[in-house]
């Protein structure tokens, strides 16, 4: 009995999995982060004493419950620009598939350093970007779809993950399910979500959207349907991922869900980071097929 349970545990977490899924996630995640943090290059002042967050208050002003023991920003403020350039460069290398666990770990440390240097200026994309980068730091995500693979290699291309990378792929799957489920549960605590009018509060708020959506007051039912669908999508995401038949419909819904958030609310980085994890739920054969077709199109 115990032996069976251990075998099942070992199989679930550590059995080899196709690396194509992880590699595609890496490209989407680091590509999105590369764009987001390249744009941040012009606002390094946000992470120095020149703006609202003095270094001495960076951790002190955080809530006691969430305050870390150290802030990861080991470098002085005067070096912020240089460190940021290194961070962006590491993201570029990871995007191209150059580097491994050590480089990803370095990128994560630098990412956390910037986050904790001014936690007030952190938004959703920063937080989930850090979370997924953490898991990637333990995995061999650059083994596939690396720019190095274009050159002649002495060793054959590794197609399957090692045991630690497999575990990280599972962890990311768990993590995204937890994020969705809790986001849905939190919404149920809100009167307007329970009432079916919350989407209106979002779309009618000029700070949150990029165009005037108030014409939707002529279609109030659409607001209610959209509000309830958002909650259903989020809460049942984990259950849908357990069901191979329902999974694809949920992922397609998620694509539209995040596509809308990205396009209409200006949260494209956040949406792309969330969507990057979807690759881990897709069949590797499907992804290999797409990659092969893409290669043929590019090289012929």
């Amino acid at each position: 009995m115990l032996s069976k349970a251990l075998k099942a545990w070992d199989h679930f977490w550590f059995s080899p999995k196709k690396l194509i899924n992880l590699a595609l996630m890496r490209i989407f995640l680091t590509g999105t982060m590369l764009h987001l943090y390249f744009l941040r290059s012009w606002n390094i002042i946000y992470f120095t004493d020149g703006w609202l967050m003095p270094r001495s208050l960076a951790l002190e002003t955080m809530d006691e419950f969430t305050r870390p023991l150290w802030g990861w920003y080991f470098w002085p403020d005067s070096m912020m620009g240089g460190v940021h350039s290194i961070y962006v460069f590491t993201l570029l290398l990871l995007f191209l598939g150059i580097g491994g666990r050590a480089l990803t770990a370095l990128a994560w440390v630098l990412h956390m350093g910037f986050m904790y240097r001014n936690y007030g200026a952190v938004f959703g994309a920063d937080v989930i970007g850090g979370v997924f980068l953490f898991y990637l730091a333990f995995s061999d995500s650059c083994a596939r779809l690396s720019i190095f693979n274009f050159f002649k290699r002495k060793k054959p291309l590794r197609m399957e993950s090692d045991w630690l990378s497999s575990a990280m792929m599972r962890m990311i799957q768990f993590q995204i399910c937890i994020i969705y489920a809790y986001t849905g549960f939190e919404k149920l605590k809100g009167i307007s979500w329970w009432d079916g009018t919350a989407l209106w509060s979002v779309l009618a708020n000029p700070q949150m959207v990029n165009m005037d959506w108030t014409f939707l007051r002529h279609l109030p039912l659409a607001i209610a349907i959209g509000s309830f669908l958002s909650i259903i999508f989020e809460i049942y995401f984990p259950a849908a991922m357990l069901n191979p038949k329902g999974r694809k419909y949920w992922l397609i819904t998620g694509l539209f869900f995040h596509g809308s958030i990205g396009l209409f609310m200006g949260l494209m980085h956040f949406s792309l980071i969330m969507l990057s994890t979807y690759f881990l739920f897709l069949e590797p054969e499907l992804l290999e097929g797409v990659i092969t077709r893409l290669k043929r199109k590019v090289f012929l």
Binding site: G124, Q207, R217
Partner: protein
């Protein structure tokens, strides 16, 4: 720590990966960490719950260092109303008479307008952060405004909330614009002195 002490564990790990027993040991270690990590992720997602408080000492140091100290509450429990900070910078002499015309400003600068620019979005999140801590305004925002406005003696802060009319109201009064249906409320309304360093 010298170079030797870094290299030794790496060599040992490589050796362990090659032996069956070693691999079993490493997987067992990883399994313990996986269970702990998942526990942290689940509990911290609702960190203010009894579970969160009970296990605080065991999970928060790890969660806070690794960035898993977040609760996932996007647009919840209810989406926020339009809000921003309006500030007035005063320049007065020792007697309290104005020596220069006061200056009005907003934070975020765009006030109540949405943007795709992640930089300006950060200002919006910073504004929320300032409002959520009781002394953040005094310790962070006021000194900054005083610093960038040379000669400023005090700053008056108004926290403005432009409420979004509920859907039912917006549907009932279709002939009225959203701006007409919205209500502006002022909070804080406090003047802070600029401390001369």
């Amino acid at each position: 720590m010298n170079c030797h002490s870094w290299v030794k564990p790496m060599i040992l790990t490589r050796k362990m990966l090659k032996s069956r027993r070693g691999l079993f040991f490493l997987k067992a270690l990883a399994s313990i960490w996986i269970l702990y990590h998942l526990f942290v992720v689940i509990v911290m997602s609702n960190g203010s719950s009894y579970f969160g408080r009970f296990f605080q000492g065991v999970i928060t140091p790890y969660a806070n260092i690794t960035g898993f100290n977040t609760s996932w509450n996007f647009f919840s429990p209810d989406p926020a109303h339009t809000m921003y900070i309006r500030y007035q910078v005063y320049f007065k002499d020792e007697k309290g008479d104005p020596i220069k015309e006061s200056k009005e400003g907003f934070f975020p600068e765009l006030k109540n307008v949405g943007t795709f620019d992640p930089t300006q979005r950060r200002e919006l999140y910073m504004m929320h952060y300032l409002l959520l801590g009781p002394d953040r305004m005094e310790k962070m925002f006021v000194p900054h405004i005083c610093r960038v406005n040379l000669g400023a003696t005090s700053v008056r802060i108004d926290f403005i909330v432009e409420s979004i009319a509920p859907l039912d109201q917006a549907v009932t009064f279709k002939q009225e614009t959203m701006a007409e249906l919205s209500k502006e409320q002022d909070y804080i309304k406090r003047e802070f002195p600029c401390h001369v360093e």
